[in-house]
């Protein structure tokens, strides 16, 4: 009977340790982000106060008002940046998805010589660090004259996202049994109809999540954008964040407000896609 009791006590101790550990981990994950959100609503005086003000006296929308009020405080054209980001991210995502669907389908359904090597080759292009790529791309884009244009950015982001979308979509198509398309062909579909009417709808959720992943990558990218965009005409939000800094001062409040604006779409999309994303990454990877 004594052993019974020690076992029960140990179980209880483990449960408490588990709870505390989880609490600490979740705090570390959440607090930095919440701190940013909180500060976007606080007046600059309070952010800079010494000694620090812990309980906010006043929360207001000043930073947001300044941000959307055109060239108000700091003169950062946030709305233009937001639009640039949207246009570039959405367009490059759609193209990357189409290209990725072709590639992913080829890898999932056809056998050909050098398939493994080609796959690794595609993946390796993703391993090229943005900084290292930005140098020659800058030279090249400047030569062709597509620097500081939406087109140039879209092109760069499509290339950046294709390896990943190919990988994910390959994984999703692999989960669709080959017999499904074969049955459709016997039922009278052409190969193309079999793909479009049967395989695509079945893998649709997975493809959507690959799209959201590509969108987030473009939406958050900085290393390439910081070199390939020069002016209000094509600057994206991550690059725009730097407008709040100058040599010696930093407009913390304004930056926090822009940060919140950047996070919200990402937050919504990630929430929508989380389940498929995990499935996609693991199926694509583990089942090889």
């Amino acid at each position: 009977m004594t052993t019974d009791r020690t076992h029960r006590n140990r179980k209880r101790a483990l449960r408490i340790a588990h709870f505390i550990g989880l609490f600490i981990a979740m705090s570390i994950i959440c607090i930095p982000g919440l701190w940013i959100v909180l500060n976007s609503f606080r007046p600059t005086v309070e952010i800079m106060a010494k000694p620090p003000v812990w309980i906010p006296n006043e929360l207001n929308l000043d930073h947001y008002r300044a941000m959307f009020g055109g060239n108000g405080q700091g003169g950062v054209p946030v709305l233009t940046y937001f639009r640039n980001s949207m246009v570039i991210s959405v367009t490059s995502t759609i193209i990357a998805l189409l290209v990725g669907m072709g590639g992913g389908y080829a890898f999932a359904r056809y056998r050909f010589k050098g398939k493994a090597a080609l796959f690794v080759g595609l993946m390796a292009t993703r391993a090229v660090p943005g900084v290292a790529l930005s140098l020659p791309l800058f030279i090249l884009f400047a030569r062709i004259g597509i620097i500081d244009t939406h087109f140039g950015m879209i092109l760069a982001y499509v290339a950046m996202n294709v390896p990943f979308t190919v990988w994910l979509i390959d994984g999703f198509f692999r989960q669709v049994p080959r017999e499904l398309a074969e049955a459709a062909e016997i039922d009278g579909c052409t190969r193309w109809q079999a793909f479009w009417r049967v395989e695509f709808p079945v893998a649709r959720a997975g493809i959507a999540s690959a799209g959201i992943f590509a969108f987030l990558t473009s939406w958050n990218e900085y290393a390439l954008a910081s070199q390939l965009t020069r002016s209000v005409y094509s600057k994206t939000m991550p690059v725009g964040l730097l407008d709040f800094t100058s040599e010696f001062t930093l407009n913390w409040g304004g930056m926090c407000a822009l940060a919140v604006l950047m996070i919200i779409p990402a937050l919504i999309l990630t929430f929508l896609v989380q389940k498929h994303l995990i499935a996609g990454l693991t199926f694509g990877g583990v089942k090889g």
Partner: protein, 311 residues
């Protein structure tokens, strides 16, 4: 098996070009990657053998052989940054893996509200690396930052700790930010692995007399290894994300104490305008990234074979 001779969708076009269907499907991907990645890389390979400077476009024809590479090989700053990058990555990736494993194990044991915790766990993944940089630059700010404010209010420190100014502390702060940003990648993938583990062998291990630790060590962990390697491979594909963050937090300073390969390349190329030299160093960083990626993919394959999952 489908042979390439089969007529495809809009079969007309394909048969006229006589390309196998897989190639037609892959062609857009191949073309765009050639145009945006391969050709620029060849260009940068070429320019790394010249004295090309942004300010003097004609210098791109000035062939100087392997001079840039020799210069890099002799450059103390370069080797310091190289060593620091490898060290930084090794420490960060391993810690991320450990924390991610711990986090995933804790979340998987929760019975109520697991969905919510899983979403919270993915929170940092949504942050742009540059945003993470700003966020932690703010939080570690010696004057108005959250950390110093908290330490001082709690009376744990009377002076402002120069988190981003002192060399060692700055490296710690950067590592902290990097780990905050990327632990969830490991956490989420390992959690997926935990869900995928068949329950039978775990129960068999319990009946076979394993303590919880032994079941973890001999059954859970071998099952998780492929997932850990996938996470490692994915992470090594975009370790350079850390560049955005470091550039904002310290930009390699103070006095090059936090200089990583990528910040060094960025500065040499754009600030000092020595494109040729920067490209030479860029190549070295590319090989570093590819090395890590291939290494982990290899590990993944062997771990899969070990579990009999096949390739």
């Amino acid at each position: 098996m489908v042979t390439p001779s089969i007529d495809l969708p809009n079969g007309l076009l394909m048969t006229r070009l006589k390309l196998p269907p897989w190639l037609v499907l892959l062609l857009p991907a191949i073309l765009i990657l050639m145009a945006v990645v391969l050709i620029p890389l060849l260009l940068s390979l070429y320019s790394s053998f010249t004295s090309y400077r942004l300010t003097r476009p004609d210098s791109i024809t000035n062939w100087i052989g392997t001079f840039n590479y020799e210069k890099a090989a002799k450059d103390e700053n370069f080797w310091a940054a190289f060593g620091r990058t490898v060290l930084f990555l090794t420490i960060a990736l391993n810690l991320e893996m450990l924390f991610g494993l711990g986090l995933a194990l804790m979340v998987s044991k929760v019975t109520k509200g697991q969905r919510l915790l899983r979403t919270v766990m993915m929170f940092p993944m949504m942050f742009s690396p540059i945003l993470v940089g700003f966020q932690f630059k703010f939080i570690f700010n010696d004057n108005v930052g959250l950390v110093n404010n908290a330490l001082q209010s709690l009376g744990l420190s009377s002076t402002a700790i120069p988190w981003l100014v002192d060399g060692k502390l700055a490296l710690f702060s950067i590592a902290f930010a990097e780990i905050w940003m990327s632990t969830s990648v490991f956490g989420i993938l390992i959690l997926a692995g935990l869900y995928a583990i068949p329950q039978d062998p775990l129960e068999a291990a319990k009946v076979d007399g394993c303590t919880s630790w032994q079941s973890f060590r001999f059954v859970t962990l071998p099952f998780l290894m492929p997932f850990i390697y996938i996470a490692m491979a994915i992470r090594s594909l975009d370790v350079a994300r850390a560049y955005d963050m470091v550039q904002i937090m310290t930009n390699g300073g103070p006095a090059r104490r936090t200089e990583l390969l990528w910040t060094l390349i960025g500065r040499t190329g754009y600030v000092d305008a020595k494109m040729g030299y920067a490209n030479a160093m860029g190549y070295i960083s590319i090989f570093l990234a590819i090395f890590f990626t291939v290494y982990f993919f290899k590990k993944l394959t062997s771990a899969r074979a070990e579990l009999g999952m096949g390739g």
